[in-house]
């Protein structure tokens, strides 16, 4: 693992991207989605990635997580270059309805990554029970995902990604498809399980308020071809609270400056 000293304490880097770029060929013309992106994520950090619509946030997440191979540059997970999606990585997608497998019950969905890792059945059942309780879904194990509300489905998806205790969790606008109230609940949920599971989170969102509320640092992308416009530290105190933190003067200031960065002023 690469260690970086920043003067006060040595941080262990979980994720490192160096000189990433990605271009697509659309109708025989090359479209450069990501121009040159380098970033670092330290262990235990909560990093949000924001940017204007179509900025390539999702493309960046796909390259960082291993779903997509970049056209150039390298992604290192705990010091080693990644090949496809590493087993220490989890990904939560925006469209929970299509991500969850409808032919499996909630319990079986959550158990699938454990089954693949050869964990025996009794152990699987125990872990599934624990992680479903952690996300507040202790009593729906036998139901099917499509029988649940949107917020509950996304909790199942989160539980499924956390079941095998990944080092690094990527989330691609995970709360964009739920209503505002549920979104607040899920934001607090992810902060809670982040501590409980000691997982590093890289969270892509178009919602600047959400990014400020959740993050330790916010990476702001420019318009395509995307580069890192700025990285903003969020020194707000933890634990965060929907009412208290959002009423904080510093919250408004950070929100304002991030918004102007994203909107390109």
């Amino acid at each position: 693992m690469t260690a970086v000293g920043d003067g006060s304490a040595a941080r262990t880097l979980v994720l490192e991207a160096r000189g990433l770029h990605k271009s697509y060929t659309v109708d025989r013309s090359d479209h450069l989605a990501i121009a040159d992106i380098s970033l670092e994520v330290a262990k235990g950090e909560f990093v949000c990635i924001v940017g204007p619509s179509g900025a390539g946030k999702t493309t960046l997440l796909r390259c960082l997580s291993g779903l997509m191979a970049p056209s150039g540059g390298v992604v290192l997970l705990e010091g080693s270059p990644i090949v496809s999606v590493p087993p220490e990585v989890g990904i939560v997608f925006q469209d929970y309805g299509r991500s969850l497998f409808p032919w499996l019950s909630v319990a079986r969905n959550v158990a699938l990554p454990l089954k693949v890792r050869g964990i025996p059945k009794t152990e699987r059942t125990r872990i599934v029970g624990e992680v479903l309780s952690s996300v507040g879904l202790g009593d729906v194990a036998a139901r099917y995902p499509w029988q649940l509300s949107g917020g509950m489905q996304q909790r199942v998806a989160i539980a499924r990604s956390l079941a095998y205790k990944p080092e690094l969790l990527f989330m691609d606008e995970p709360f964009a498809s739920v209503d505002a109230q549920t979104r607040f609940e899920l934001e607090d949920l992810i902060l809670r399980v982040r501590n409980e599971f000691e997982v590093t989170v890289v969270f892509v969102t178009h919602d600047v308020d959400e990014a400020v509320y959740l993050a330790d640092r916010v990476v702001v992308l420019s318009r395509p071809p995307a580069t890192v416009k700025m990285v903003v530290e969020i020194p707000l105190s933890r634990p965060r609270d929907q009412l208290v933190t959002r009423a904080d003067v510093e919250f408004a200031a950070l929100r304002g400056s991030l918004l102007s960065l994203v909107m390109g002023h």
């Binding site: 469209d95 497998f101 409808p102 032919w103 699938l112 499509w146 029988q147």
Partner: protein
């Protein structure tokens, strides 16, 4: 180029009906009444047949009354063992072989692009070929009897199953594949645990089409190259001018076809309840 048949989804009535006296009838009773009520045309046609044939003296269009009497004599249940059971047995074996081969080869064609490229022209050519055309050739290969029937039934049934399997797998939601990759599933594990289950509604549609084809070939193959079975029975009756016998054979086929379809649909409803459930839930949103 394929003929994917989408599974029918029946929507249960969302509100209970009320009888003329204003009492509420439950949704299941309503459904049952609707089903019974929809048989009125069937009953009308049977009545017309009965009346229309009643005074007939033609040996090929006997009175329905006599046909039904003969039906009871032969098929409840004396001749079932000698004449019907062998046919159904051949159908079962042939269909089973076709199902396993169709799904396995379809899945392999999906998984191995080189194989798919090479075999596609052959597959599509054989798919559109009417299987009865090949009966003489199969007869030469297998001789008269059970193996010829099973062979031609398998051959005919496999194509819709194979093509619907391939089609269903190709239609897999990319997000599910990305999810599976993120959860650590290997390529073949993804094929087995994600792509095949996701394709199963389409595969079942192919199995249903295959069943229809199988029933036809079951009869036709026996008319040409067999010494037993329901097709042979009908042919023999025809050649011996036994009109009522021939018509009982036709009735038997009607009953068998209906029963097999009902059983298939019931099985499909059970196996795909996740599919019907999730579609119903999506509609309500």
């Amino acid at each position: 180029m394929t003929a994917p048949v989408t599974p029918q989804v029946k929507v249960a009535p969302s509100e209970p009906a009320t009888s003329s006296r204003g009492r509420r009838i439950g949704p299941r009773t309503t459904k049952a009444l609707i089903s019974l009520g929809s048989l009125w045309l069937f009953a009308l046609l049977v009545a017309l047949w009965w009346l229309g044939s009643n005074n007939s003296h033609s040996s090929f269009f006997p009175p329905l009354r006599l046909t039904l009497i003969r039906f009871r004599q032969l098929w409840l249940f004396a001749d079932v063992r000698t004449d019907l059971a062998p046919s159904l047995f051949h159908l079962a074996i042939g269909y089973a072989i076709a199902s396993v081969l169709g799904i396995a080869v379809g899945a392999l064609m999906w998984a191995l692009p080189l194989l798919r490229q090479a075999s596609s022209p052959v597959v599509y050519f054989l798919y559109v070929l009417p299987a009865p055309i090949l009966i003489p050739a199969v007869l030469v290969l297998f001789g008269i009897g059970a193996s010829m029937s099973v062979a031609i039934i398998s051959f005919a049934c496999v194509w819709p199953i194979l093509l619907n399997t391939l089609d269903g797998m190709r239609g897999t939601d990319q997000l599910k594949i990305d999810t599976a990759r993120s959860l650590g599933l290997s390529y073949w594990r993804r094929l087995w645990s994600v792509v095949l289950p996701g394709a199963s509604p389409q595969i079942v549609a192919g199995l249903r089409a295959g069943l229809q084809v199988g029933i036809i070939l079951m009869v036709v193959s026996e008319e040409v190259g067999s010494t037993q079975g329901i097709g042979f029975f009908i042919l023999q009756a025809q050649e011996n001018f036994a009109g009522t016998d021939m018509w009982t054979g036709i009735l038997v086929l009607g009953v068998v076809g209906t029963v097999l379809n009902v059983l298939f649909v019931a099985g499909e409803r059970f196996a795909l309840r996740w599919y019907y459930g999730s579609r119903a839930a999506a509609r309500e949103r």
